[in-house]
Amino acid sequence: MVPELGHILLIITFSIAAMQCVYWLYNLKHATSDVILFLQKGSLINFLFIFLSFVILTFSFITSDFSLLIVSNNSHTLKPLIYKISGVWGNHEGSLLLWVLILSAFTFFVSFNTAINSRLLASIIGVQTLILSLFLAFILFTSNPFERVDVLPLDGRGLNPLLQDPGLALHPPMLYIGYVGLSVSFSFAVAALITGEINKDWARQMRPWITVAWCALTIGIALGSWWAYYELGWGGWWFWDPVENASFMPWLISTALIHCVRILEKKLIFINWTILLSILAFSFSLLGTFIVRSGLLTSVHAFASDPSRGVFILIILGISIGVPLILYTIKSSSFNEDKSSFDIVSKESAILINNLFLTTATLTVLIGTLYPLFLDAINGNKVSIGPAYYNATFAPIMAPVVLLMAIAPFLSWKKNIDKNFTKKIMFLSIVTFLGGILLHLMEEKSVFALMCGSLSIWLFTGVITDLISKIREAKVKFQNINQFFFFISKINLGIHVAHIGVAIFLAGVTGEQFYKSEYNERKKVGDIISIGTKSLKFDKIENIDGPNYNSLMATFTLYENNKFVSKLRPEKRFYPNEKSQTTEAAILSSFWGDTYLVLGEGDNETGWSLRIYNNPLVSWIWGGACFMAVGGILSIIQNSSRFRNV
């Protein structure tokens, strides 16, 4: 009976949400405090009920209640507890429930953001609730997670072993917080279009929500890439797979949005552009969710789909993207912008160019992702577009963004007042030039390696230079924690940390892309393989039983300059329940790089095939992403009203 309760809770929530929408539209012209209160209470109830329903589903997974269809299809009694829980969102229905849970949580939190004026707030909650009811309808009519099976199976079919991984347990929730978080700025934008009210405060209230979503998206994408790196056993971290692109596009757009909304906070220009970006960011999130889930694009992420879902998805996409865009074309000309001017050399210009290039870069990714589908539909040609395309389009468009990122923070609003501006640029150029020469002398690689490495040095120097000059200007003494926050707010530490993150990321990319080395060997037990200054001794190979798999595990000893470093244990695992095999690479991570060892097929007679990678600086890729996210969190703290006006 308990699962039925979960289902009933969803039905009740759907009714309440639908009622709220009607109530909101009816009271569109007069948003009194009563209306707000009603919407707030509704959001609270929606959140609680969906949460309860989610708990019930999770409980069914933990207790292996195989009378539920999705539990029997995606779980197994022998699975470790954490993967029973992550199995909740390892399937279509459960992941949608997680989606609406996060949406209802965001709606609930934003509904108590009473600093927003009441007409706007009512519409923001209204739009959020409208999206919520659309998705609840989608769940109830096509993807009920609480559906029962006709015949009770003895045991479940298990979860795809590739997905049984701690990194991946967290990847979907983080990504979803990012995707769904962008619904808030979307609602801000639609609410502004509906009410016609937009001011600097609108931008100020909206920014932390975008930043939260952006941070979660950054971490979510980084987790996914990290998982691909250590679990797939190909040694790569980004494959320009359509599914990766689907999460990357909202990230690019929301990055543009974070920057653009800062202009609007200062003065009322680029209103239309900001609104358009907000709508686009969430549209890309929706597209991302569905591109992945629809099975339109094939990958481990795609869950089987049926046509009725496809139609429903199109309707939801049509309403949530089409209607706001129509509203936009009608209303966007009616906003009054400030008549102020700014110089070409100013922060406004820099952010404008940043936005232009980021959206253009998104366009190249979008075309690369959709072109194969387009060609298939037109003439049935099956094509795939790989990294080569993106290296030729995305990379050259992003390079100017990084160039600008280093020097834009020197600039002031409206016009340049920094007397040392040219001096600073000279300094950056000299440091980058010297760094480039050093890089070239260390190990001669392609011109692209040199460009990528130099960009990292350029950005790194730029951020540090700016940080030092901001600290000098700030002249704040701090004895307690509050003053410390005033200080970081004054020097805008969040920006520096996030930008340093990009520099670290680029250094990682340079190392991994251009300086890595790969070795393919066939070796027997007892053999020694030498790779540069390191050597690997093949100790033994044996069969070992795991909780729900059998493993063939090899043991190697890694020496560097003939000194013992560590044991490495690559595995091949066989999961009998799921009848599938996975490769577990052995990875020794260090600050300066990874040793990555994969066990291939073979036998004791002819030897085992082995793949070994030396990946310099590879962990900086994810380290850089962490810095970006921390920078985002810092910027939320430093822009909270407590610390802003000092």
Partner: protein, 147 residues
Amino acid sequence: MNPKYRRLFITVIIVLTLGLATKLILMALEDNIVYFYTPNDLLEKFGNTQNIKNKIRIGGLVLESSVKKERDKTVFMITDRKKEVKVVFDGSLPDLFREGQGIVAEGIFKNSNFFASEVLAKHDENYMPPEVADALKKNNVWKGESN
């Protein structure tokens, strides 16, 4: 810069950037697209010309008892149950590579042999690459349920 000139300035850079981006995209699309063929299509289209410069993908089933290991190389036939193409591959094979399994290989077609630089097979026994499934359906040899 007053709003009038600002508009001009913005329009100019937008046009320039988009123009540049379009150029880049068109160039990249021309050079870097990887076409997919089944063995039958491949032989029909390029069987006589022998060589194709660009990388292509070929998909089908690994022909039963055709897999041979020659030192570091693996040689096997890939089939759509109509025609076969010989594939030569010198990398390490994916976990689920076995005879009768649907796979996709990427590489170069030269002298009627396919020299693969990459062999992709998904990590699930029941999984069939959709391109392969389509091709098999076309030849009426598809047995599984649709995915």
